[in-house]
Amino acid sequence: MTSPSIPIRFPKKQQVSFKIENWLPWLVPTLLLLIWQFSVQWGLVSARFLPSPLDVVQASWKLTLSGELPQNVWVSLGRALKAFAVGGGIGFALGLLNGSLRMGEWLLDSSLQMLRNIPNLALIPLVILWFGIGDEAKLVLMSLGVFFPMYINTFYGIRSVDPGLVEMGRVYGLKPWQIFRHILLPGALPSILVGVRFALGIMWLTLIVAETIAADSGIGFMATNAREFMRTDVVMLSVLLYALFGKLADLITKWLEWFLLPWHPNQWKGRST
């Protein structure tokens, strides 16, 4: 115990407008970009081999004006969203079903766990034989890739909910659907969102592979096509676009977590009620 006569001094936080932790992450990428730009500009690297960042920007501008870039981006995004809705939706639904009902788990889980170990890209030859190289083939491949992370994380999310809370729900007169709605589903949500994160990662990977192997539109097609004409700037642009979409997907899941899990203690840094 401190005696009241001794004043307690709290260290004052310094008011700094320039916070180093906000700027430091940008340092390395900026430096790399500069080194890249100048090494091409000064002829250290052949521009045919590696186009400068400015070349890439120019290429993207031209392709935007010609309508080629927006068209391909639109096609790729459409495929990604469709596959996510189909594969993710089925995975989510089956995860909920098998997580909540023992009967569903006994019937389906072991089969699904077996299929899970087949990499979806190993099915490419089969999928091409069955569905050709059209959009169906890509949709099947990507949906399969998205399905498993969603299924597994939803399933284990439901199963990891504290049984004490479910018991509380029973004693307090909650109907089975209320227990599902108010206890199981919100309890599983953090795990489900982890599934969304994984699923998005696999979705991009599969999209790139599918569009590179067999496609007549999309970002992957744009890159493969550019390779034929030695347009390294367009290839580079495609790679950067994938990076951009990956980052965007990550931001969306972070936002979802922030929005759907306001109660989660992890989120309580820098957030009022």
Partner: protein
């Protein structure tokens, strides 16, 4: 508002070969507060779960107001050792997870446990004592006729525990439900209850009335003597 008459007739409970409770006969009057004391593993929590309808007896009958209990006991609310609040619901939603009561009832019970100002808070920022007060509010909001307390204060610090004991007695006197308190804390049982029962290896080994008027004083000689009697009995019983 009133309580229920609880009549336990020759109840056995076995889990496989393990006999947890043997020939329990006990009656709890309408509005009575009964304490059940014993060493850990003596079967006292199982008895409470039987009354809640969370377990079914292997033999014997359990009557609530002369009606045999089947399934979950809808007259009863149970308070667990851990508060079991839903982390994703604010305090006021936790008080009424099934949304069976009006907002007014919720406010009123939060007021009586002294947490009305915290009704919009998430549970994880509450202290252990506050969480248990929310759990108490949740147990009492629907005016249950039977309140089952399964060592609800075991995890709290000594001062908070005394405050909670006062609160429980106050609410019991206001609402006159039938109360069943399971605890290993002999003093807690004697301070709170009208009657204390000791369970040893699945059987009732002592039954003692606490005829001390309320409010009871922790340090009084009557309380002290009763505590000593019960404690001696518990200590002389066999440890498992």
């Amino acid at each position: 508002m009133s309580g229920v008459f609880l009549d336990i007739q020759g109840i056995d409970k076995r889990f496989g070969d393990l006999v947890v409770l043997r020939q329990i006969n006990m009656q709890v009057k309408d509005g009575e507060f009964l304490g059940i004391v014993g060493r850990s593993g003596c079967g006292k929590s199982t008895l409470l779960r039987l009354v809640a309808g969370l377990e079914t007896p292997s033999a014997g009958r359990l009557l609530i107001d002369h009606q045999q209990l089947t399934g979950i006991n809808t007259a009863a609310r149970i308070m667990f050792q851990d508060a079991r609040l839903l982390p994703w619901k604010r305090v006021e939603e936790n008080v009424d997870p099934g949304q069976f009561n009006t907002g007014e009832d919720v406010n009123q019970i939060l007021e009586s446990v002294g947490l009305l100002a915290r009704k919009k808070d998430w549970p994880h920022i509450l202290s252990g004592g506050q969480k248990q007060r929310v759990a108490l509010a949740r147990a009492l909001v629907s005016n249950p006729k039977l309140l089952l307390l399964d060592e609800p204060l075991g995890a709290l610090d000594a001062l908070t525990r005394i405050e909670m004991q006062h609160l429980i007695v106050k609410l019991w006197q206001e609402r006159s439900f039938t109360g069943l308190l399971v605890t290993h804390d002999v003093e807690e049982a004697v301070m709170l209850c009208d009657r204390v029962v000791v369970i040893d290896r699945g059987q009732i080994s002592l039954e003692i009335g606490v005829n001390v008027p309320r409010p009871r004083l922790r340090g009084s000689t009557e309380i002290g003597k009763l505590c000593q009697v019960v404690l001696d009995h518990v200590l002389s019983s066999t440890a498992i």
